[in-house]
């Protein structure tokens, strides 16, 4: 029992810290890209502002509008949060430092990530707000549409690695000497990143939030700590999907040429660096792109990404069998 609690605590701590690092990166990165200093006043030249942010949201009144479906409304943030945290359980930070080295690690991750859809949809539905409803429906449509290319892109990796365990996938990459992104999965990696960005609901796929038309989408009616949970899980989701992407495609906790025997020491650092680089690319994309329209977004998923990922699987399979 204690072991489980420690594991859950470890998981939550890593995920929360990752989310906080990504928040700092997003906010500070955004402000620098926009020629402004960004948060300045909370300690260390403003770099620990997420703590102040958290304190602020915790203090705020948790307003629940009268017309809402109360239990559903109250529990919706929890779904989103839990799905994010649980996702990290299978991500290895080194061969031994992994909460659960499952046989079907990839399968578990993808199954858990679709749980968040329910949270978003219930949040939108229960808010008794037209903007929230539209945001929730858009989010549901988008998350379901992009779940497919996300899974299909991973299938290529699974075929190449011949295992579904994430540790196994990383070990295979170490064995190969190059990460999968170089070793034939470049298209799969791009598809995975696009689909992951859509799963995170970040620009250019932030139609569900779409603040210029839907104010804040499914989060419109949330305030106080419940809003904070949505806010944090957005960054948590970003952190974890980036971590999974770097595990699957970029060689995880290992970089070529470094001695494999010390991987337990530098593993977490390497993984975090790779995750942060991917995160920074997402930040740069977020602050430079406009957003897609709802129908264009669906077209991209169904007409481009899914066929492309199917072709990718086919090519990978043929290569695997043929050579």
């Amino acid at each position: 029992m204690t072991e489980v609690l420690i594991k859950v605590g470890f998981l939550a701590a890593v995920a929360l810290n990752g989310a906080i690092i990504f928040t700092i990166m997003d906010v500070k990165g955004a402000s620098w890209m926009q020629r402004r200093p960004g948060p300045l006043h909370v300690g260390l030249r403003g770099f620990i502002f997420p703590l102040a942010e958290i304190l602020k949201f915790v203090q705020k009144e948790d307003i629940i509008p009268t017309e809402v479906d109360r239990p559903v409304f109250k529990w919706a943030p929890a779904y989103v949060m839990v799905s994010c945290v649980a996702l990290f359980a299978v991500v290895p930070m080194s061969p031994t430092l992994v909460v659960a080295d499952l046989e079907l690690g990839v399968f578990f991750a993808l199954a858990i990530s679709s749980l968040g859809t329910i949270g978003v949809l219930t949040a939108g539905w229960s808010s008794a707000n037209k903007y929230s409803l539209m945001g929730g429906l858009r989010a549901a449509g988008q998350l379901i549409a992009y779940e497919l290319p996300l899974i299909l892109a991973v299938v290529g990796v699974v075929i190449q690695a011949e295992t579904m365990s994430l540790v196994g996938i990383v070990e295979k990459q170490i064995e190969w000497g190059v990460p999968f992104v170089v070793g034939g999965q470049i298209i799969g990696f791009l598809i995975f990143m696009v689909a992951a960005t859509a799963e995170m609901m970040r620009v250019p796929f932030d139609m569900p939030i779409g603040e210029s038309e839907l104010t804040m989408g499914f989060m419109t009616e949330y305030s106080g700590i419940r809003f904070l949970i949505f806010y944090i899980s957005e960054y948590m989701n970003m952190f974890i999907l980036c971590a999974i992407a770097s595990t699957l495609f970029l060689g995880g906790y290992h970089v070529p040429l470094l001695p494999t025997e010390w991987v337990n020491f530098y593993g977490p650092v390497v993984l975090l660096t790779k995750t942060a680089i991917l995160g920074f690319i997402l930040v740069a994309i977020r602050w430079s792109q406009p957003r897609f329209r709802e129908d264009q977004l669906q077209n991209l998923a169904w007409k481009i990404l899914i066929p492309a990922s199917l072709v990718n699987i086919l090519v990978t399979a043929v290569m695997k069998v043929g050579f």
């Binding site: 990165g29 200093p37 300045l40």
Partner: protein
């Protein structure tokens, strides 16, 4: 010779622009567009219409400014007093004494008509801008406060011919 120039997708150029701007912000050699306001003050143009200063001595309470004000935000009251003659045996002169000169900045539209119409050079523009209040009633500046702004009136600047 035909040079081949591959077409870079527009979204990549966009990412390049934001990253270049990020480096500009971080580099100490580029000017910063921002002013960290409460700690640094912004430099305003000397002509900026910030607040109206009043030279109490020059005012003769002729009411021209109050009459021309589009918003009716200037309130003047005054009376005349007899002054002792300047040289013995001369006539007693009357002098206007200002009892009240209030400008209600909550109403003022900062058009500057009062400054322009003043025939005795009693009103001036000052670029000072820090006089917001929590209470709307405090935006009514009386003649002492208006006189206090006088020392913030800048000297004349150079002109372009």
């Amino acid at each position: 010779m035909k040079t081949f120039k591959p077409k870079v997708p527009g979204f990549l150029i966009g990412i390049k622009i934001v990253i270049v701007n990020m480096l500009k912000t971080l580099s100490p050699f580029h000017s910063k567009p921002n002013v960290n306001y409460p700690f640094e003050k912004e430099k305003v143009a000397p002509r900026a219409r910030g607040v109206i200063a009043l030279d109490q001595e020059a005012c003769t309470s002729c009411m021209l400014c109050a009459r021309q004000c589009p918003d009716w935000c200037i309130y003047i009251e005054g009376h005349k007093e007899l002054q002792p003659p300047s040289k013995p045996g001369g006539r007693q002169r009357s002098r206007a004494v200002l009892d009240r000169f209030d400008i209600d900045y909550a109403l003022c539209m900062y058009c500057g008509i009062c400054v322009e119409v003043c025939p005795f050079d009693a009103l001036f523009w000052s670029p000072e801008y820090e006089y917001s209040e929590f209470n709307m009633g405090d935006m009514l500046h009386d003649k002492e406060r208006l006189d206090g702004w006088l020392k913030t009136v800048p000297e004349a600047e150079g002109l372009e011919s």
